[in-house]
Amino acid sequence: MTTSTPAIRLRGVTKRFPGSSEDAVSDLDLDVEQGSIVVLVGPSGCGKTTTLRMINRLIEPTSGTIEIEGQDVAALPTTQLRRGIGYVIQQVGLFPHRTIEANIATVPRTLGWDKGRIRARVEELVDVVGIDRHMLTRYPDELSGGQQQRVGVARALAADPPVLLMDEPFGAVDPIVRTRLQDELLELQSRVHKTIVLVTHDLDEAVKIADRIVLLNVGGVVEQYASPDQLLRQPASEFVASFVGEDRSMRRLNLSTVADLPYHHGPVVEVGASPAQARSAMEDEGSEWLGLTDGACFLGWVEGTEVVDGRRLGDLHRFLPAAQVRPDSSLRNAMEVILNSRTTVAVIDDDGAFGGVVTLERIRRALAAPAADDATSPEGALPDAANAGTAAADPATGHGR
């Protein structure tokens, strides 16, 4: 698929712990592209942690090879290897006898950075992970579990390693902070392009942050290695299907944003248009409502029955839109907005400018379309009834009629 060497490459990696009759990880092949986030998910005990630990050689594989940037890790001194890999462990493992500041500074200190540089780096990192600076002088015992976990992430990032291994890094934080940290991670990633292997129990987290997901089964067997969308759209096995669950389509809605939909103008015309033009726009969409714009600005909805010859569109009574979304809203969010307003159409507010409309039907169509064919999917080939959704409910007040 890609021409460059993957940042991390596992070939036939197997681990059987002494005294065990089963492989914890068996014959694992995995390529992690430079600058991408690969997320390992799977049931407890399926070998996720073991896989991470083999990459930084906290565990030596029974057989198989692991390369980082083309270099066999077995050939590197472990200390050198590990200093280039940030590691967030599942149980956090902060040093209890050191302050938060000293904890974060561990690797920079061993690398011999000067004090000023370490201090600056530490302050930068606590801002990134959302820890108050006044906590720097505290000891880990004086922090909540979630705060400790964030310090663990900061500590792993400290020396700016090109590769990060994160074992359930947000497991102990509450959902709100978790979402924020996920967003932080994605934001950080868009700037620094680390190669990240992250483990999680949370499929939504995986779907949200992964470029690719590895779904492991017990024994460290790969059930599917695919993009989040592919995993949800085409589960490769019964196991994957049951793991991703019945609501996989709902999960897919998280993956796309309103901006990913093909532009849809909807039954909307300029306020200066003639009533005939307006009626034709409504007919095309099968809509009983008409939207009015003034240049880039969306003015509101008017009732179709009021659009008669001889009355200027601008004089009609306008209703403000009940549902509005932004281009970067997820489709799930758009659907939520539409359902909550009990209309079937939401106006896209692109920084104050009219950016088209979203309907439930458009969302349904986006999900149904195979990803590769999205661009070519012929709109006109769908039966007219597909557009009926636009007219089913009142887009302005949200009341069905």
Partner: protein, 224 residues
Amino acid sequence: MPLTTSAANPLIRWSYFTEQWDRIQEALLQHIQLTLLAVAAGFVISAGLAFLGLRYRWSIGPITLFAATLYTIPSVAFFGVLVNYLGLGLLTALIPLTAFTILILVTNILDGFNAVPAPVREAADGMGLTPTQRLFTVEIPIAVPYMINGLRIATVTTVGLVTVAAIIGYGGLGRLILDGLRRTFWTPLTIGASLSILLALLFDLLFFLLGAKLTPWAKRKQTL
């Protein structure tokens, strides 16, 4: 003759302090010296044994058994037997005193290292600390409160035991006590015993303060 107090033989005759100050001072210094030497030697030996035990886990059993056996030897017998081989000297006094500290110190040092949480070790390794760096920057600091606790108990016990070494002429304050018993004279006995108790309490306090100073991170858990 039973030891009873009377006007002629009060519990304490204060003039004794001024008259016999040199003797008291000498006894006190010897007591401190014996205690510190025994505990220091015991700590060095125990650290070595603990290192062995951590290196070769199977040896922890035999090491503990050895230390416990030493601990069970009646002190009077220990001193008495050694005199036959080593004569009446500092070493004869020191060996049993040292031997008695080992069980306390070894178990506490081992407890200290076992108190290092596995994830903390894993984090240290995962960040690329060498085993030596891990030992000195992570494991020893975490074990320090346990070590200090061991030293505290060992020292306080040793202060009490030193008095027994008086039977071979090396007992520090024990010699005052023995003298008082021999002469059925209350004053040296009272002074020897009281100073011994005070010394033990003083050491206890010093180690507590040392512990608090060295382990600010554990301050919320420390109690007197």
